[in-house]
Symmetry: C2
DNA sequence: AGGCGTTATATTTTCAAAAAAATAACGTAG
DNA sequence: CTACGTTATTTTTTTGAAAATATAACGCCT
């Protein structure tokens, strides 16, 4: 009976516990790292189009994420305007900013959890 | 400023924090729920073939997982025999059983983490 | 020698998700 | 009324992963 998992693996292999975390709404994944980054970039650029380009994501996919987020929320997280002075644009709501902040703190707690578990693996 | 995330979503939508967790070796995913179940079923059936069938996984995929596991480990986690009385078969090592037990306890700790975070979401 | 059930591996086929492209609508400004 | 840049949506194409299929080797047993 070995004392740690470490000894099972070949020498000089690095070892870590890692994972992924998200918020589910009605059992379906609804708010994870991707949507967070998308909202942040929309907030910075004022445009779904530019945000998607920055993330090298198709406009369509970005729009689908936004549509899903808005569908689950009691008030839209992203409010869009088509046409107008600069062709249109998009803005994120105060609720969206709250969600972002909340998710950030969740991820921090998860990070320390992972670090703790990694340290338990043995040196 | 709302007190909880709950109020942002539409009424009567369930809300939960969920996630996935695994052990990485040299930065690549190496031991998660799939491999655990596969090892367990090999242990029960004595056959990669039957284990894969039970999991509705192709033999090839099962074999790739096993190959990867063995490649990272200092001694094979699954030891196989081709040919012989019943055509051959496979057995998992004591180290494999340790890994399974360790992963089980890790998942338990992760589960309580998720439950705690879910309860923080507000009712 | 031939059959059996398994491991081991290469090749082909299928299929669904992702990407790309095309189209339309919108509203302001010139 | 035309041009522009955006949102919104449909359709087509591409691609890559999964599944299926095929083949071979292995070693015991009859």
């Amino acid at each position: 009976m070995t004392k740690s998992i470490r000894g099972i693996l070949k020498k000089n292999k690095s070892l870590a516990v890692n994972g992924s975390i998200w918020i589910e709404c009605n059992g379906e994944r609804f708010f994870g790292p991707g949507p967070v980054e998308l909202l942040e970039r929309i907030n910075e650029t004022g445009s779904i189009n530019q945000a998607a380009k920055q993330m090298k994501m198709s406009y369509k996919k970005a729009w689908e994420i936004i549509n899903m987020l808005n569908a689950q929320s009691s008030s839209p997280l992203v409010v869009t305007q088509t046409g107008g002075a600069s062709g249109g644009g998009s803005v994120i709501s105060a609720e969206a900013k709250e969600l972002i902040a909340w998710h950030r703190s969740l991820r921090n707690r998860f990070k320390t959890f992972l670090e703790k578990e990694t340290s338990k693996l043995g040196l």
